[in-house]
């Protein structure tokens, strides 16, 4: 029968395309539906950072796996994703931050991330000679963290899904989840078309809650707006991703492949909702924060600003699970880490779906967990 596949995926960002690719590799037929174009949600708006420095053992191990996958991706996907292990340097300007980073480093090393280490201000200056170290106590540094180019990764996965016999349907908004006898059986599109599969995976990013609601499933994911900007390309300066957790801090990095600086900061107070509006406040404030850390960038020009959504869960951890409706799965709530977690979590989701297991592989990412503790390295 036409319009029938083994798996339907809703969402054409990193979560959906990665899950779809690893399922297709398991020889399952995949049909992926995206309401806009590929990468039109959160993935295409992120700044492309990839780090293993997390604070829960599962996230650290998943990120170590993601780094492996990014490193082999050009060959695996037959494309160029611009993976570059340029490192991440988290900066500590007060004793409590320093202590928190030292504690995190212990957890990370115990989880197997032996590349991470504490560096004092002098060593930070050696790693980033252009860094203004005024007031800096040191930082948490992992040289094997890095960067990749989101559009190339998502498109690479999507092209391989097609190569493996699957289908990609952009500009195809899902408006209904079909079910029968307590099991998902397919989807309905805005144009009235129906597509059928015994498995439906909600990878809708900032729309995860709405897509869940179509199936009567509560997905505890709330979007909030984050803004970003990018500069013209200049000579590559070898600066790792700098993360400054101070109230007037931010994070930015330089792409190895074209020399552009890209950065953002978390607004305070938070801006709930899916607005993608840009503000003049950010356009002025982000450069101020960048120049505070690296004054030498003063003459580098900003060419573009935009905004996108973080998909927040109450505890800052993602969701990877099956729902109460049989055959309906959820991968989302990435809390700003979707691009970096995507490859490993897509792989894990594919294995979870393929195996038919009842219990999710990571209890702390269960859909119905108690949302008590909070992920610290946001």
């Amino acid at each position: 029968m036409a319009n029938t596949s083994d798996v339907i995926i809703i969402g054409g960002g990193i979560a959906g395309t990665a899950t779809g690719y690893y399922l297709a590799k398991h020889r399952l037929s995949v049909a992926l539906f995206e309401q806009g174009h590929l990468c039109s949600g959160s993935t295409g708006r992120c700044i492309g950072g990839v780090r293993q420095q997390f604070t829960s053992a599962s996230s650290i191990k998943l990120m170590m796996r993601s780094v492996e996958l990014f490193a082999g991706m050009d060959q695996e996907l037959d494309t160029e994703v611009h993976w570059h292990p340029g490192g991440y340097l988290f900066l500590a300007h007060d004793e409590s931050n320093k202590q928190a980073f030292l504690d995190n480093i212990r957890v990370q090393r115990a989880a197997g991330l032996t590349d991470v280490r504490w560096v004092d201000a002098a060593e930070a200056k050696e790693i980033v000679p252009l860094l203004d170290t005024a007031g800096l106590l040191g930082g948490s540094y992992c040289p094997t963290d890095g960067q990749a180019y989101p559009f190339a990764v998502v498109n690479g996965y999507a092209q391989q899904i097609k190569q493996l016999g699957g289908s990609i349907h952009p500009f195809s908004e899902v408006t209904g989840i079909l079910s029968q006898g307590g099991r998902a059986t397919g989807i309905k599109l805005a144009n009235g078309e129906e597509h059928h599969a015994p498995v439906v995976v909600n990878c809708a990013g900032p729309w995860a809650k709405e897509v869940g609601a179509l199936a009567g499933i509560d997905v505890p994911v709330e979007p909030e707006r984050h803004e970003a900007l990018i500069t013209e390309g200049v000579e590559y300066l070898g600066i790792p991703m700098l993360v400054d957790y101070r109230a007037d801090g931010g994070y930015f990095q330089q792409f190895r492949h074209n020399g552009q600086f890209i950065g953002c900061y978390s607004p305070s107070p938070r801006v709930p909702g899916r607005s993608a509006d840009s503000t003049f406040e950010f356009l002025a404030e982000m450069p101020r924060r960048m120049l505070k850390l690296v004054p030498a960038l003063a003459q580098v020009k900003v060419i573009r600003q935009w905004a996108g959504s973080y998909e927040m869960t109450p505890d800052g951890n993602p969701v990877l699970d099956r729902a109460e409706l049989g055959g309906f799965y959820v991968l989302g709530g990435m809390c700003g880490h979707g691009f970096m977690l995507g490859p490993a979590m897509g792989e894990a989701m594919a294995e979870f779906v393929r195996s038919g297991e009842k219990q999710p592989p990571f209890p702390e990412f269960a859909l119905r967990r108690r949302f008590g503790q909070a992920e610290a390295m946001k």
């Binding site: 295409g44 013209e232 356009l283």
Partner: protein
């Protein structure tokens, strides 16, 4: 007809007509998709030159009418501005 496939469509990002046509062959049907596959329109001038050319290629290849083409979002700043100028602006 002369072979135009190697002519530059996006001068900022060095994207050729051939690359735009490859993106269309891969499934891109809007200027937004061409942009994300080729970087046409993502450079210094933000697509001032290539936007029209990309739309013409889409129209020619896919039989689209200009009125049916989805516009690409325009983003600030209108022209490149140095980090220092922006930082000093407030």
């Amino acid at each position: 007809m002369p072979d135009t496939t190697r002519q530059i469509i996006c001068r900022c990002e060095d994207v050729t007509e051939e690359e735009v046509l490859q993106a269309i062959a891969q499934g891109a049907a809007t200027a937004d998709e061409v942009k994300r596959l080729t970087r046409a329109g993502m450079g210094h001038c933000q697509g001032r030159t290539c936007r029209r050319l990309v739309n013409q290629l889409l129209a020619r290849r896919l039989g689209q009418k200009p009125a049916d083409q989805r516009p690409v979002t325009q983003r600030s700043p209108l022209q490149p501005v140095s980090l220092k100028t922006l930082a000093d602006s407030h």
